[in-house]
């Protein structure tokens, strides 16, 4: 058993919900306390507890030695990463590498400045990104970022059902990985851009590297965490290009018959819906561009929460146009293709493939169904 992971799971549980835990798992409260005090769990207890806490049973069992090495990368990333997260991510990475027969350092990597640290560097790299992947469109929203990440950048992008982190990225054996926690769409888009920022700005593709972000929207001070500051700035500049913000705000103002007042919450909300980001992310970008006073983003966000419950409720109440839907594939298509081929030849089993891909066995079988034209 992975004792460290199991103990983290059981120790960090919400003790006020022990009755629910006991009811749902069939494990008595007395037994839960015994497990907390290092009693050895049975296989079935591990199974029902994994189901209850929505973790993979594999992550409570000893990890494969190779995957353990990837786990060390996450733990050496300078942030506190729990054993279950580290095990889950390193297992996916290790198994993906096993599935994909060959890998090469992505060709786009040398096109960006990698010693990037400042907001200006982030703005510059975001412009390069749009030049490389969007035909130099420095205006439009970037709803297609998941598609660009997967198909043009060759990033292995996974969606994970977890509340343990918002995003994670890694370079292992020349392969770029991004993991996104399933959540509010705009938040996921920002997290994706944030993790791409890590891959572009700070990960050396010639050396394995991994980082887990518990949250990606609040920006730390540059002096406190340069890598996180840069990744946040990159995401902000990439999703809300300076020229695009200018053009869009001009149009919004024209529709409102040319007001020259200070930027208001509704205009920022409209910007946030147009660019597919949260209100806070849009307000922060406006703050960075000098369109909102320093500290204005957080104050406005808090004020909207207090008055309306949330910025989104305010936007809905004002009948702003709904958000566009951003589609995130559940797993990397290249990996699905490789996995089904290897299941067919018997190199890996259906159960193993479903675990790597994060798909149920039924869904994996469906993915193998012949396409009807």
């Amino acid at each position: 058993m992975n004792t460290e992971a199991f103990q983290q799971l059981i120790q960090k549980r919400n003790r006020s919900k022990d009755n629910l835990l006991s009811e749902r798992t069939g494990i008595s409260r007395e037994r839960i306390l015994m497990l907390e005090n290092s009693a050895e769990p049975t296989l079935d207890e591990l199974r029902v507890l994994a189901n209850f806490f929505r973790v993979d049973l594999r992550d409570l069992l000893p990890s494969h030695p190779r995957h353990g090495a990837v786990g060390l990368l996450f733990r050496s990333g300078g942030k506190s990463v729990d054993e279950i997260t580290s095990s889950a991510l390193s297992r996916r990475i290790g198994c993906s590498i096993d599935l994909l027969d060959e890998s090469a350092v992505p060709s786009w990597i040398d096109r960006f400045g990698r010693e990037s640290k400042t907001y200006g560097d982030a703005e510059h790299n975001a412009e390069i990104f749009r030049r490389l992947f969007l035909g130099d469109d420095q205006v439009s929203p970037l709803y297609g970022l998941p598609d660009i990440a997967i198909n043009q950048m060759g990033i292995l992008l996974f969606l994970i059902r977890t509340d343990r982190f918002e995003g994670a990225s890694a370079y292992v054996e020349g392969l770029p990985f991004i993991f996104l926690a399933e959540s509010f769409g705009p938040r996921m888009l920002f997290t994706l851009a944030h993790e791409i920022g890590h891959l572009i700005g700070h990960h050396d593709p010639h050396q394995s590297f991994a980082v887990v972000d518990s949250q990606t929207e609040k920006r730390p001070q540059a002096g406190k965490n340069a890598a996180e500051y840069y990744a946040h700035a990159f995401a902000s500049c990439l999703l809300m290009p300076k020229r695009g913000i200018g053009v869009t705000l001009k149009k919004i103002r024209e529709m409102q018959s040319g007001s020259d007042e200070v930027l208001g919450d509704l205009e920022i909300l409209l910007l946030s819906r147009i660019y597919g980001v949260s209100f806070y992310a849009a307000a922060k970008r406006c703050e960075d561009l000098g369109l909102v006073p320093k500290g204005g983003a957080i104050s406005l966000n808090e004020a909207l929460k207090k008055k309306y419950g949330s910025a989104e409720k305010r936007a809905d109440a004002a009948n702003l146009p709904p958000r566009a839907t951003v589609r995130f594939p559940k797993m990397p298509p290249a990996l699905l293709k490789a996995a089904t081929e290897k299941v067919r030849t018997g190199e890996i089993s259906i159960g193993k493939a479903s675990s790597i891909l994060g798909l149920s066995i039924a869904d994996l079988l469906t993915a193998n169904a012949p396409r009807m034209n």
Partner: protein
């Protein structure tokens, strides 16, 4: 014959609309089992499996039939999925046959418990034809439905269900 089914075979049989018919083999000396991990892996099928368990045509093996160490030993040996591993480990411990429609799991099961105790869902379908639970034409249609549902099944001749 005592048969422990894995998730791939259960889902394939269900997609071929044959699960209940195959479980009808209990009237002809067959006993069918599943483990708890396999039950978890079956997702939407769980309700039907529980119903069959209540009807007595399917036995869900009691919890803790094996230790975590025993399970991990087999997991590390063959690097399969959790349900496939559970099947092989339980079959080994309880002297059961394994039914799996997965090539890698089948190879591992043959190595672990022997060729004579490993079969696929199509063998069970053929047994249904032999016992008169199903006619040959419907067996072929079911096979085609399983393939259309994405089953990783071998190509078989129509005569397979005659022998």
């Amino acid at each position: 014959m005592k048969v422990l089914l894995d998730a791939s075979s259960l889902i394939n049989l269900h997609r071929g609309r044959l699960l209940e018919i195959v479980l009808g083999l209990t009237s002809f000396g067959f006993v069918f089992y599943i483990g708890n991990i396999v039950r978890d892996e079956c997702g939407d099928l769980q309700e039907l499996l529980d119903l069959q368990s209540t009807n007595g045509t399917l036995i869900v093996l009691p919890a803790n039939t094996m230790t975590p160490e025993e399970f991990t030993g087999v997991l590390n040996l063959y690097d399969l999925g959790l349900g496939e591993t559970e099947c092989i480990a339980l079959a080994n411990r309880l002297g059961l046959c394994v039914c799996t429609d997965d090539k890698a799991a089948r190879r591992a099961a043959v190595k672990h418990i022997g060729d004579d105790r490993v079969l696929g869902s199509l063998r069970l379908v053929r047994e249904c034809v032999r016992q008169g639970l199903l006619d040959r034409e419907n067996a072929i249609l079911a096979y085609e439905a399983m393939k259309a549902g994405g089953a990783f099944l071998p190509t078989i001749a129509a005569s397979y269900f005659e022998s």
